[in-house]
């Protein structure tokens, strides 16, 4: 068979290529590449795998590799810890799959009016959840939203120290530690192992006029509500520090909007809103603040605003305070901005409009009910305990110290029952050896929870 043109490269047909070359007035593509000196040229052929030229073979090939995974489609998953299994409504998938949104990029709000409006609407809904008037276009993920919030605060008050809870997600903490370098000092606030809550005394001890911001998470990494959040904010404010609150926004149907307990800047993760887990690949962070120049002027992200057009009654959109950005000012801009996670932001908006206020409340309440039920069931197991009594949302710690099996062993045995057990905490937080972090969402029904409990029971007893 003659050489076939590449379906993704229309001009790869020999005759067309020749026609183009002729028009250009050259005989070979090398006449263009000759600008690259020989010694800089790659001499040879790329050593990459043989292609699967037909779409059918390609699909089979990739599917075969992917089938080596085991997923939450065929396994019961109880892992959370920054990525949570929520149900993704079909409408979210539909909108995400539309080529218009999927393959847009940096067009202005004329030809890309829809993209701007969509992201403006997402910002509007997030703003309502946290009760703040300014919300950015999405960042890479929550961890990125945190560090950008911290640096915003540092620019606002010119101070160079941030207090973060030692209880925060170890993974997000790694991002914070790197991103604050070299100029912002990161100090951890201790937490009480028994309540999983920040030690107010330690906070007080560490607060000073040098502290730029105090960051907390609510619920925290372990799922517990930071009961003294309001107080923490007050303390921060006493020292003139910005109070930054990180949230899993799916809790905000039942939990107070952070602005209402004193947050100056709120950040968090949009993944629970219509995005599948995708091995942690579908994260998207947001930042919110009061609509004051002091804050808005410090966002590194793009900001989309609504504005009139020359057509009476028409909504137009555009970039707000674009001069802030590194696009406009290079190193003089606020941090940096680039391709982030716009599509995920759009989907989060679709999700919020679908679920609505009542749905979000039901979601939150239903999750808490499942957790309480599961806690009770866990507590009934011999050798298993619920070490922390603080009210929690979606996640909580289970202590297996009383069992003869380690968390790792239990998880391995659970896998054989098609269950992904809780996240092993011992490796991540020295305070919680032999503990695991379990997550329950609306995807779990009573049968699922009972299956988990029964399987653990069997594992504990059997071995």
């Amino acid at each position: 068979m003659a050489k076939r043109a590449f379906p993704y490269i229309p001009n790869s047909v020999e005759e067309i290529k020749a026609e183009l070359l002729e028009d250009i007035g050259i005989s070979d593509v090398e006449d263009i590449f000759k600008e690259i000196p020989d010694h800089l040229r790659f001499d040879g052929k790329l050593n990459i795998p043989e292609p699967k030229l037909s779409e059918y073979e390609l699909k089979k090939h990739v599917e075969r590799i992917l089938s080596k995974n085991k997923s939450a489609q065929d396994n019961l998953n109880f892992k959370g810890g920054g990525v949570w299994q929520h149900y993704v409504p079909s409408v979210c998938r539909t909108i995400a799959g539309r080529d218009e949104f999927l393959t847009a990029y940096v067009g202005d709000a004329y030809a890309d009016h829809g993209k701007f409006q969509a992201l403006f609407e997402t910002a509007s809904m997030i703003g309502e959840l946290v009760e703040m008037d300014a919300v950015n276009t999405p960042t890479y993920d929550w961890s990125n939203a945190i560090v950008r919030s911290i640096r915003m605060a540092a620019r606002i008050n010119g101070r160079k120290e941030v207090l973060i809870p030692a209880s925060m997600s170890p993974s997000r903490k790694k991002v914070v530690l790197n991103y604050c370098k070299p100029d912002i000092k990161v100090t951890e606030i201790d937490f009480d192992q028994e309540t999983a809550l920040i030690e107010l005394d330690d906070l007080k001890a560490k607060l000073s006029e040098k502290v730029s911001s105090v960051y907390i998470e609510n619920p925290n990494y372990l799922g517990y509500l930071e009961l003294e959040a309001e107080k923490i904010g007050e303390l921060a404010h006493q020292y003139g520090a910005e109070f930054i609150v990180g949230v899993d926004p799916s809790s905000l149907g039942v939990l107070e909007a952070p602005a209402n307990y004193g947050a100056d800047i709120v950040c968090g993760e949009l993944q629970p809103f219509g995005l599948n887990m995708k091995w942690g690949g579908a994260l998207s962070g947001f930042i919110a603040s009061p609509d004051e120049e002091k804050y808005v002027g410090e966002y590194p992200s793009l900001l989309f605003g609504i504005t009139p057009t020359v057509e009476e009654g028409e909504y137009g959109f555009g970039h707000v305070a674009f001069e802030r950005t590194s696009y406009a000012q290079r190193e003089k801009g606020k941090d940096f901005i680039g391709t982030s996670t716009a599509l995920y932001g759009i989907i989060a908006g679709v999700y919020l409009a679908l679920i609505g206020p009542k749905g979000l409340i039901e979601l939150g309440e239903g999750i808490m009910q499942r957790c309480e039920y599961a806690k009770e069931k866990f507590a009934e197991l011999e050798g298993v305990s619920i070490p922390i009594q603080t009210p929690s949302f979606k996640e909580f710690v289970v202590d297996f110290s009383g069992c003869s099996k380690s968390v790792k062993e239990i998880n391995q045995l659970l896998e054989e029952e098609n269950i992904f057990g809780g996240i092993e905490l011992g490796e991540k937080m020295e305070e919680y050896q032999n503990c695991a972090l379990f997550c329950f969402t609306e995807v779990h029904d009573r049968y699922d929870i009972n299956k988990l409990i029964n399987s653990i029971e069997m594992i504990i007893e059997k071995y």
């Binding site: 993704y8 229309p10 001009n11 690259i36 010694h39 790329l46 292609p51 699909k59 590799i65 939450a72 990525v83 299994q85 409504p89 409408v91 539909t94 949104f101 393959t103 847009a104 990029y105 067009g107 709000a109 004329y110 030809a111 890309d112 829809g114 997030i126 008037d133 990125n144 993974s171 790197n178 070299p182 905000l252 939990l255 107070e256 887990m277 942690g280 998207s284 609504i306 504005t307 020359v310 555009g318 305070a321 406009a328 190193e331 801009g333 982030s340 599509l343 409009a353 679920i355 609505g356 206020p357 009542k358 749905g359 979000l360 979601l363 808490m368 009210p391 896998e415 609306e442 009573r446």
Partner: protein, 524 residues
């Protein structure tokens, strides 16, 4: 050849769409959440009562209440009001490599064997995705010629920031960070090559071009010193010129002990043609969402594949993906690591797509990509410059052959007619084409326009583009006001006053802010 398309009667979808809040009616539902069953409720008791008053939500969050049909309808309208590159002749977004994003790859990432993986699953249960990571790392290593890669960064900026973090760590471990506080870049390198080193704490030195428009080697010689931590540079820079002395730049920086980072975000036209290795770079990155055919998503999710030489490998963010001879595993045990730049493993879906894209192309396909990209660009630019009145391009007399893109200038047309590049950029949407990319800041080239006709575009597309710009130039000469008031047939008309968006009193980032500021915004 098809007939040259010219969308004379084009009009973009314009649904005159309300804001979602204007479609809200109390009580309406878009979807129902699965309720826990009665037994769960009974045992759980009143869970909300356990939340202390200060943390308990007092009022329903003010979300819109809209039926499922209307939610779908609304966002479908907004979608139609957006010009995705898969739908259009998107040569416009120069520097962005708007190539075809194959639909099959979207099917692959919807596969639950991928979409329903939790990142904390045991390595035994994620061998498939680890294999794809590993395979794709091998591909970018081969394409760059470097030794080790990470796919954690969420985009190009993020990868360059990762580079800056690694440079910092490198000097920190050498104990020279205090001294090595400068990173050099060039003005035609992407803004991120300046902004991310700055964010990472470096002083940034920016080189201006020489009279050919190339990075100025003399300026570099002056700039380097024992304070030089690294150079961060793009090549070809975003005006489309290949710097033939790029290896000299590397040498000069290496001579003072500095590291060299190659911003290869858009490596599309050089796949299998030229690599970071041959030019001597220590590090580079690829914008996976550009070079490897994954969709841009309206601005992400993207991915930045960062590659480096062995000596820097130990600084890579954790985890790296390794193979123990038997199976793949994520390696967290890397004491010299910078830590993390992003939670978990990065935008895994982008990697699955990119891997599939490469596997659809193969070595020959990658090379064909490069060839056709530069051929397309040279065809387009020669014809544009010949046929379009008032249009020229940067450094026209430098004798250098353009590679994958060209920075044009409308200066002559603007001088003649008063119609500037921003007007033309708006007007092009009236012919069904995405607004083109002017230039990064600062605009060293006046009234700029940057086009990148990568391999996805047919000769018919190139001819359409030429015809449209030719027409618009004619319009500018004949009816400049009409062009200035463009767009006329896009989803939105011209903003009344762009200054509003810079005015704290009149900008509005959310619907709730708009409600409060409406009067000021509409006060004329």
């Amino acid at each position: 050849m098809g007939k040259t398309i010219f969308r004379e009667n084009f009009h973009q979808a314009d649904w005159d769409e309300p804001i979602i809040y204007e479609m809200s009616t109390p009580g309406v539902r878009g979807i129902l959440v699965p309720e826990p069953d009665q037994k769960i409720k009974d045992r759980a008791g009143d869970v909300l009562a356990k939340i202390p008053a200060s943390l308990r939500r007092k009022e329903e969050p003010n979300l819109p209440e809209v039926s499922q049909k209307h939610v779908l309808m609304h966002w479908t309208h907004l979608a139609q009001e957006t010009m995705g590159s898969n739908l259009t002749n998107d040569i416009s977004e120069g520097t962005c490599t708007m190539k075809y994003n194959p639909r099959i790859n979207e099917e692959l990432v919807e596969n639950t064997d991928f979409s329903l993986l939790h990142p904390e699953q045991s390595e035994e249960t994620v061998q498939g995705i680890l294999e794809i990571y590993s395979e794709f790392e091998n591909i970018v290593k081969e394409v760059s010629g470097l030794d080790k890669a990470t796919l954690q960064p969420g985009g190009g900026n993020h990868a360059v920031y990762t580079a800056a973090s690694i440079v910092r760590k490198y000097w920190e471990e050498k104990g020279e960070l205090e001294q090595r506080d400068e990173i050099i870049t060039t003005i035609f390198s992407h803004p991120c090559d300046a902004a991310t080193p700055k964010t990472a704490g470096f002083k940034v030195i920016t080189l201006q071009p020489d009279e050919q428009g190339l990075p100025d080697i003399e300026a570099l010689k002056e700039a380097v010193s024992e304070r030089t931590a690294a150079i961060f540079m793009t090549n070809p820079e975003d005006i489309g010129l290949y710097n033939p002395k790029v290896d000299k730049f590397v040498e000069i920086v290496h001579e003072v002990g500095g590291l060299c980072f190659y911003d290869q975000a858009n490596a599309n036209a050089f796949l299998g043609v030229a690599r970071a290795k041959e030019a001597g770079f220590d590090m580079c990155h690829f914008n996976v969402h550009k070079t490897f055919g994954t969709p841009h998503g309206g601005s992400g999710p993207g991915n930045g594949a960062f590659c480096c030489k062995q000596k820097l490998a130990k600084y890579l963010p954790v985890p790296t993906v390794e193979h123990d001879g038997d199976k793949y595993y994520p390696d967290y045990d890397r004491p010299h690591s910078i830590g993390k730049v992003r939670d978990f493993y990065g935008t895994a879906g982008v990697i699955v797509r990119a891997y599939a894209w490469v596997m659809a192309m193969g070595e020959e396909g990658l090379r064909e990509t490069a060839d056709i990209s530069v051929i397309n660009n040279n065809y387009l630019y020669r014809n544009l410059v010949e046929e379009v009145k008032g249009l020229s391009y940067c450094y026209p007399d430098n004798g250098l052959i353009r590679q994958e893109q060209v920075r044009y200038t409308w200066k002559e047309l603007t001088d003649d007619t008063g119609v500037d590049t921003l007007a033309i950029e708006r007007r092009i949407a009236d012919y069904g084409i995405q607004h083109y990319w002017t230039s990064h800041e600062p605009w060293l080239i006046p009234e700029p326009m940057t086009l990148e006709p990568c391999e996805s575009y047919s000769k018919d597309d190139l001819d359409e583009y030429i015809k449209v710009l030719k027409r618009i130039a004619e319009e500018a000469y004949q009816d400049p006001e009409m062009v200035k008031n463009a767009p006329h047939k896009a989803a939105s008309r011209k903003r009344k006053d762009d200054n509003m968006l810079d005015d704290p009193e009149r900008w509005a980032l959310t619907w709730r802010a708009y409600q409060k500021k409406k009067d000021k915004i509409h006060a004329d």
